[in-house]
Symmetry: C2
C-alpha cells in the first residue's frame, strides 16, 4: 500500500462476535456498512476479526484491536440470552466490573414495565464507566467505553446506533474513490496500473477482475482524499491504458 | 461456549486479504461458504480476520493464525496485479524465498502460450516448498504450504479450489445443527435456553432473534456432533419452552 498523506490518519477495527457467523449460518452484513460509514467519518477501517462466543477469544481480540487502532467497533452478543457475553468479556478484558447502567435500566423499564425480567435487565449491563449509545430502533442501547463501541449484531439496529454517532467521532479527510473499468484481462493492465500508482503518490489503485457474459473485465478502483487528484489520475490511467491498447472508461463497468 | 467432546477437535481460521472488503466496496462471500465446507470436513472455523493489502499486516495475521489453529485458509491477493502480494507476504512471514513453481508455470504456459507475460507469471509464484491446489475454474492454482492454504478472492474460483480439497484434510466428526423456532421475544426464552444447554453437555444452543410481519421471533440453533442427541435435546427444548408458555416448532421459522 502506498503511504497516503502527511496528515493524521484515523483508524478503526471491527470485531464481529458470534458463532452464527463462523458456522456459516448467518452472512455478516455489518462489515461493509460500517466500512462505508467510517469512510464518511474520515476514519479508515484497517482490520476486522470474527470470533466465537467465548470470553477469552473476545477479550484477547478487543485488547489487541483497542491498542492498535483509534477506534474499535464490536457487533453481536449484547442481547438477553446466555450466549450474549460481549459486555462481560470486554469488562473482564478491561479489568472493570459489570454494572447496571441507571439510564439503560430506565429505558428498558419504560418499555417492559413490570415485565422487566432478569434476562431483559441483562441488556442494561455495561462495563463500569461506560456511556450509552442511542438505539433508535429497539430499546437496548449500545455502549461506549474508552475507544470501544459495543453494538448490536442485527444490522438494522447497528445502523441506527451508527446514525446516532454520525459526525461525533474525530476523524480526518474522508477517503474518496473513483473507478475506471475495462473489458480486459487484468494481467494485461498490470504494468500500467503499477506505473500510474507509482507516479501518483497519495493515490492507491486496486484491481478487481470479473467475468460476465462470457467476457473478462476488470474495474480499477482509485482511492485518495483529494477529489481533483482522483479525477486527473483517472484520466491519466485511461490514457496510459489506451497506449497499451486497452480501451477503458471513466466509471465502473 | 460449552466444551463439546473428548475427541480431538480440528480447528481452522480464515484470513481474508483485501482493501476492497475493508473499504466496503465488495461484500465478502467466502467466509460463510468456507465455514459450511469446513463443517462437512469435520473442521471448525474458530476465527476469521480481514486485513488490508499490506505485507506486514498479512504476515502478522498469518503467523498468529497458523500457530493458533490446525489450518489457515487465506482468500485474495493472488492475481497478476501489483496489489496481489499475498504470496510475497506469506513467504516473508515464513522466512522462505518466492520461487516460480514449475508445474504452475507449465499450466499457465499451456493456457497463455507465448502471451505468458511477467504479470501473468506472477500467478506461478509460490513460497519455496509449497504444493499447488487445483483450480478447476480458471488456470492459476491455489497454494498449500504447511498448514496454510492460499486461495483466490473470487468466490467461484475459491469454491473450485475447495472442491479439489474435498475429503483430503484430516478432520473430526462434523458439527451438525438443528433449529427450534418460536414467535417469542428471545428474552422470554432466555432462562429456558440456559437450563437446557446446561443439562445437555455436548450441545451448544445459540439464540437468533428476528422481526418479521411486525412480529418478534427467534430461532434457537442447537449444535452437536451426535444426531440422535440433537433430536432428543430439540424435543426437550420444545417441551421446556411449552412449560413457560412458548409454543415452539421443530425447525427454523
Amino acid at each position: 500500500m502506498t503511504a497516503i498523506a502527511q496528515e493524521r490518519i484515523w483508524t478503526a477495527a471491527l470485531l464481529v462476535i458470534g458463532d452464527e457467523i463462523l458456522s456459516g449460518r448467518t452472512q455478516d452484513a455489518n462489515l461493509a456498512y460500517i466500512a462505508k460509514w467510517l469512510q464518511v467519518q474520515g476514519i479508515r477501517l484497517k482490520e476486522a476479526r470474527v470470533v466465537i462466543d467465548d470470553m477469552a477469544a473476545i477479550g484477547a481480540a478487543v485488547t489487541a484491536l483497542s491498542a492498535a487502532y483509534d477506534y474499535v467497533f464490536t457487533t453481536g452478543g449484547i442481547g438477553p440470552t446466555h450466549d450474549d457475553i460481549t459486555v462481560d468479556a470486554i469488562a473482564a478484558a478491561l479489568g472493570v466490573a459489570v454494572v447496571v447502567h441507571p439510564r439503560a435500566r430506565e429505558i428498558l423499564a419504560g418499555y417492559y414495565g413490570d415485565k422487566l425480567t432478569d434476562a431483559r435487565l441483562r441488556m442494561a449491563r455495561v462495563p463500569e464507566g461506560a456511556e450509552l449509545i442511542d438505539n433508535p430502533r429497539t430499546m437496548a442501547p449500545g455502549i461506549r467505553i474508552g475507544n470501544i463501541f459495543i453494538m448490536a449484531g442485527v444490522p438494522v439496529i447497528t445502523q441506527g446506533m451508527l446514525a446516532s454517532l454520525d459526525g461525533k467521532l474525530e476523524g480526518g479527510a474522508p477517503v474518496l474513490s473513483r473507478s475506471v473499468g475495462a473489458w480486459t484481462q487484468e494481467s494485461q493492465a498490470a504494468a500500467t496500473l503499477l506505473a500510474v500508482e507509482k507516479a501518483n503518490p497519495g493515490v492507491q489503485i486496486g484491481s478487481y477482475p470479473f467475468w460476465r457474459q462470457g467476457k473478462t473485465g476488470a474495474n480499477f478502483v482509485l482511492r485518495a482524499t483529494d477529489e481533483a487528484q482522483l479525477a486527473s489520475v483517472a484520466a491519466a490511467l485511461i490514457a496510459a491504458l489506451a497506449e497499451v491498447g486497452i480501451e477503458a472508461v471513466d466509471g465502473e463497468i
